[in-house]
């Protein structure tokens, strides 16, 4: 959040689950969506464990944007390098290629986030600058 504020995003709306993300994407007024790939179904609280964690929540939300025709420009930000599949785990690079193919209209790219590194910031900045110029 601090990074986004520094990057001069005028307002940032934080949503913490697939469900709250779904209600947000119904509003097409956003200029940009930074989307985590894995999310709990519902906001996790001390009372609610969030039902289940959706490993591909980001993909589902991009699909919902497409279905509802509210295709907000989206950067996928994830801290996972692999994603579960039936037989073998799917590496991030493969997932990114699939997202690019499926959501040509609004998928801007995928950024890998790691606590201890700052390269994700420059990756993110590059994409945001491109949006601004566009």
């Amino acid at each position: 959040m601090d990074f986004l504020t520094i990057s001069e995003c005028s307002s940032v709306d934080l949503r913490r689950s697939y469900h709250s993300g779904l209600s947000a994407i119904r509003n097409p007024a956003y200029d940009l969506c930074i989307l985590d790939m894995s999310l709990p179904t519902y906001d996790v609280t001390p009372e609610d464990a969030g039902y289940e964690t959706l490993s591909y929540a980001g993909d589902l939300l991009l699909g919902e944007m497409k279905r509802r025709k509210t295709e907000i420009p989206t950067i996928v930000l994830t801290q996972f390098t692999t994603f579960p599949e039936k037989l073998e785990e799917k590496p991030l690079i493969q997932l990114a290629a699939e997202l690019e193919e499926k959501y040509k209209n609004n998928y801007l790219g995928c950024v890998f986030y790691a606590d201890e590194e700052t390269s994700w910031q420059s990756d993110m900045e590059t994409i945001i600058k491109e949006i601004r110029h566009a």
Binding site: S23, E47, D48, A49, L60, T81
Partner: protein, 761 residues
Amino acid sequence: MLYIETLANLYSRVDNPFPLTHLSKDDSIAALEFFSERRPHSITADFLLRIQRESILQAPKIEQVDPIQWKLASIEEAISRREADLAISLLEDFTKCHVQLPDCLRTHVISLYFDAYREQGDHKSALRTFINAFKEADYLTSRLRVADFLQELSNSLPADVASSPDFLVARCVACSETVQDLYIALDDFLFAHDLSKPRDIFNIRDQFDTRIFAFVISQVMRRDVLSRGGYCASSRELDEERLFLLNSLGKITSGKTEFDFASEISTLNKELLVYAANRHVNAGRISINAEMIRDSAELIRASFIRYQALLEAESERNITLIPLSDLSLNENESPTETSHELRTKESLQVFAEMYFTILLDLCLFSEVCGLDATLSARIRHGSLNNMIRSPFEDGWLITRKSSNKKDYLPSKHWNDYLLEHSVIEEARDRVSAAIIRFTERLDAIVVHLQKRIIQIQVSNIDGFDILIPQYTGNPDGIFNYTELLFDTKKNEEFFGRAASSAEDLIDRILECFFTYTEDRLEDIRRFIANTTHDQIRECVDDLLEDVRAVGLPNRINFKFQDEIQKSKISLQNMIQSLCEWFKFKGISEFKDFPINVVFDSVLKAINDSSNGLLSAYCLEVPNIILKGDSFHALYDVFFTLLYNVVEHSDLSSSEIDLTIRGSMNEDILTFTLENNVNPEKDLNQSLETARSLIEKSAAGEASRITKEGKSGFFKIRKILERDLRRTQVTQNVNTIHTQRFSVSLGFETHGLISLNENTIN
């Protein structure tokens, strides 16, 4: 038989190039009989079709071909030539002549109708064919290529078809494997009918055939499907919505045995009960028994009367108060002050004694009603350890101590995983060592919290060590009451002089104590959210670095890294939940509840925080309803018991075989918990220790109530005798056969049983 089975399997394959005429007539018949008895109808039909085609091709004369086979082949031929009208005409003749057909042939006929209508472009009739078959029996639609049909329809779908229940069902059958596609089919349907919530579908119930409606509610409107839409805002709402749907459907389908949702309804009800119960337990675990403190007014009544008399005497002589810190309270010291100063000192001293009695003896350190007892029973003993370990259990990032309680066991999960991926022994050992180091550090954080931080501090008061030598408290304890105890002069002016009675004095002090404790609770929440969270994160990051340093293949490193990332997310959620414990318990009422809810809630709490679920348990308890206000106390009792089962068995949760039995004899409710233990454990020693502890607790020894370690029996007795006011508490331990330990607990139920039919469910 194996020959026929093999033969039948071989010849049912559509890719088998060998003609069926290779089979003798007897073998053909035997294979057909085999199929019709054992196989799904679609495979039987495929096999029949091959026989039909080939017998038609091979037959020298048409008359020698079975008439049914011939007609069906003709219809197929018409469809393949795109003569749909002819095909339908032939089908109609056929069905008039052959009303009773075996299921496998009926399936074939239905598929021919479906294909013919599709070929004709009559999509409505094709859809109707599908639905009629589906209504009768699912398997009759097994040969229909519904997914292709829907794909075909998508380009030219009339609005009335798109919003029809038939179309919804077709879409759901076509995509039944994929939750997201089911959700989209349902969502499109609800949107088309302007329905915002799933339960609104009952408003258009009359558009559905009963069987179709039951299918949509039970098989499509499942929780996993509903969770993909924005219909419900939380897990609880989701469960409630699903429960509503099933209960409402049950009213429509009552009496029809094919629609039996009793099992799912029972499971949902149980989950909602447990959810409500755990919410009640975890939303604030701090409670002080103010009523019991007020009832102790007798302890200070005589002193209060004396105090008031002294004050009156002092006011007549216009005496100035001298702060306590300026005075010596040593009884043996020769008084050098004037007589009025002695009286001043005495009133202040009397007040100080009352004040300390209320605050120290009752509010803080009473084993029966004080804060320290609550912190011990509800947080420090067991629960805290479980909670802090929980984020790391799913990823197997944590291990446990061996039966000697000194060494840690290696991580079997990761060892097996690495072995499977051909990692050498030295590397496996290094990973195991890293996990053990991490576990040690995490356990040290827990111990530090238990023994140093989540403790009461009162010792840092100048001159007060004379008055309160027995209360040393803990110098690091976040629950620091020094300030509240320090300025006796100020406290005397604020509380003592204003109080009209002993009870009034207690109330005033209690009010201040609660306010002060709220601030201390905020301190501990801040400590946990910041310091503890940071400490644990640092340990997690170090674990990741240690594993990376082993130099494992990238794929395995990524796997480990992902588990660490998941654990960090869980850690964040755990910290948030843990902070909630440090709030005063709200006054919200808990409804009367069936006794099994206590066990279900406790077991869920233990299972949520230990890998390898404690699932091998048998629960047989009487079907009695207890009063809601007894829930939390009973939860504490059975959590303590069950936590000790896991802790002292020296087994992992998945290895424990636990039985819980309850019985009611007149007014006495008795529970027996029986479980296996580690074969290396000295059961006789454990039995002797446990019996000794039970004896001491029964004898009234209370000092262990606020301790952790060998204190379970004391805490349980205190909760039952003091909090629940039971007078006939019994605790027993026994060994059964070899290496099975049994604990039983009994108490009278008088006053606990609910007579109210309006229970939590």
